[in-house]
Point group: C2
């Protein structure tokens, strides 16, 4: 297996550190728009790792880099506006493709808060037949959420339930960062994108529909000492992926944002600072959202000042195999202190990065194989969960 | 009188419209960094008005333009970061100078919320002797606030009180703007500057000192139907100007910001988006505060969608000439509907712009004359108030 990792930011750098301990691949080319950043990501690792420059907005540049290094698998670890050129570039070069976020949505032009427009991943699913016909695999949404959360959903359907009422992905943390008034633990660009777009919900008798942002607030109790966190509906890939392969009456995603973060996001939106369209500022063209991101500390650099745990998981309700009501939360918790000490990467990016590395190893060994554009819930969940545990990062399950 | 107006934004354009109805000056050169904006400001007016390009950050450019047009008076109507080059350029060219905001403050390096650092206007007062020696006048802070509010303070001291306890400038409005979630009625650049700097207070036995932002909230009742508005301490020139010429035990400035605006300002500060220092965004250097300003509608263009009234005034408490306690609010209200219909300029910029035009006319007629760096309260208030009224914009007074 010869891997091209596109993006040497927080998640990409953590993926390098995780993959470096495994032997399933021959080479990993780590490419970034900033060659220095790619070089820093591989600096402490063995000769299988090579740094390269790439412009992720160019499918041709991605394809050329694949051909140069005889790449078999492309792992996309940049922000989701670059999904399509990387996805197209991998296909053009005959490589398989993995990502952790799918192609972007566009709200319904007139009823954004009740109907979907272009949905997350639509642009990728539209060419699934071409990928299948070519025998190529695009495994989409294989980070933590989407990713492990989807594996949990499939595991619940296969092993724990006779019938499922709701699959509700629930994400919460008790992370704090010393020395900053406000320091998001994940890419603010992506957080704005997912939180300010109209949240999407799936129901068996209604299909996909949307609501206003921050809808249906709910206090969810997270395990391992994190405790209660206020969660709200957020647009996320799981709601688009899970219903395609797993039978349930309802699928939702709620994110434990907290009051302060919601207030910040609302204010950014009110002022137009969430916009990605360039505006003219003293003769220069800049996107306000890029400016917001540039004002805040890089979340990948905050690990030393961060404290607490982050939890991703899937809450499933329905009827168990014994015919009785069942409620289960399947989850994965990372303590920042542990991930910093063990890997030198903060908890949120480390927790995202481990999943595509596990998936690549399953593809390398043949435990997973498929073609076309698919989500993680299309593949058998047990090999994934077992290999994740053997990486030293076990998952948990609570009956509720 | 030959006037150079620097800045054809909201206030500058309104000043042109007001001055166009008066005959006290020979020419007014309207200069802006954007020549097109200067040309639009003078488009409907007579041949005394000339448009020009100027770089307000260059004292040499300002001085050269003064010499070219034999300017006698420079009126500065750009944002306060350009005060010093325009002030210095006017002096170099032998012109008198007027502004509506003074040179910027810098917080105390270690005790910003209790002690002053560099105060508003300090850089200008530092060279007052040079202006006096040259027989040149710098009349600073002659907008609405500072400006008319300072004239009110001097009027109260001269005509209404034997002894003053507190002079409290109080500004409030009930303006709304159709079609925008958030649309400030005045320059957001200046509003951020004055609201996020530590507010300054003057007390006779303590001198100037500072507090944390948004301190001492107070509900003040504004006249002419505006009603109660929550006001908080804000750094403003009046607190630096009034105690130099008017005897009082305490001088404050409170601005009726409202809860929503305060929340927006706090969020901008928390994210570093209030900063004026350039940051690197995709290879370009931009100041976050400039980006915030560019995201929001230009307040000068909102007049047609704006409704309501704005009030500026000075609340004075103490002992009247009869020895009895007295409380008086001297104020000036502009109804946006009136200013749009009468002048085509929205209420807030129009209310700011009328005062320097009145002051220029008093200097032209000789009713006002002085030298050195002074504030409006250094000059006799009655001629100013009478001429303001004869411009068709009377002031009011409430005994409380």
């Amino acid at each position: 297996m010869r891997i091209l990792l596109v993006g040497a930011g927080g998640v990409g750098s953590a993926a390098v550190a995780i993959a470096a301990r495994r032997s399933f691949f021959e080479t990993m080319v780590v490419a970034d728009y900033d060659l220095g950043r790619a070089s820093r990501a591989i600096a402490d690792h063995d000769a299988r790792f090579v740094a390269a420059h790439v412009d992720a907005s160019s499918a041709d540049a991605v394809a050329a880099l694949c051909r140069e290094h005889r790449i078999t698998h492309v792992l996309n670890a940049v922000d989701p506006r670059f999904v399509m050129p990387i996805f197209d570039g991998a296909f053009a070069a005959g490589a398989d493709y993995l990502d952790m976020a799918m192609s972007l949505s566009h709200p319904h032009p007139t009823r954004p808060h009740s109907e979907t427009g272009v949905k997350l991943g639509d642009d990728q699913f539209a060419v699934s037949d071409q990928w299948s016909a070519a025998g190529r695999l695009a495994l989409c949404g294989i980070g933590i959420e989407p990713g492990l959360s989807d594996v949990f959903a499939r595991y619940a359907a296969d092993e724990l339930f006779a019938e499922i009422d709701e699959i509700g992905v629930r994400d919460g943390a008790n992370l704090t960062v010393d020395g900053y008034d406000f320091a998001p633990s994940f890419s603010i660009w992506t957080t704005i994108e997912e939180c300010l777009n109209p949240p999407v919900i799936w129901e068996a008798d209604r299909g996909w529909y949307t609501t206003p942002p921050f809808s249906e607030p709910e206090v969810f109790h997270f395990p391992e000492g994190i405790g209660p966190v206020e969660c709200v509906n957020v647009e996320h890939e799981e709601v688009l992926l899970i219903p395609r392969w797993v039978k349930a009456k309802r699928v939702t995603f709620k994110y434990g944002l907290g009051d302060e973060f919601i207030e910040v996001l609302k204010t950014l939106h009110k002022l137009g600072l969430d916009s990605t369209s360039p505006i003219t500022v003293r003769g220069m063209q800049v996107s306000p959202r890029d400016v917001v991101a540039a004002c805040l500390p890089d979340p990948a650099t905050l690990g030393d000042r961060m404290h607490g745990k982050t939890c991703a998981g899937t809450y499933v309700t329905g009827t168990g195999p014994d015919g009785r009501p069942r409620k289960v939360y399947l989850y994965h918790v990372v303590d920042n202190e542990w991930s910093m000490k063990e890997y030198g990467h903060q908890a949120v990016v480390w927790q995202t990065a481990i999943n595509p590395v596990v998936a690549l190893e399953l593809l390398a060994t043949g435990a997973w194989s498929s073609a076309g554009v698919i989500g993680p819930e299309a593949l058998p969940p047990v090999p994934f969960l077992d290999l994740l545990t053997s990486y030293g990062s076990p998952w948990g399950m609570e009956e509720r």
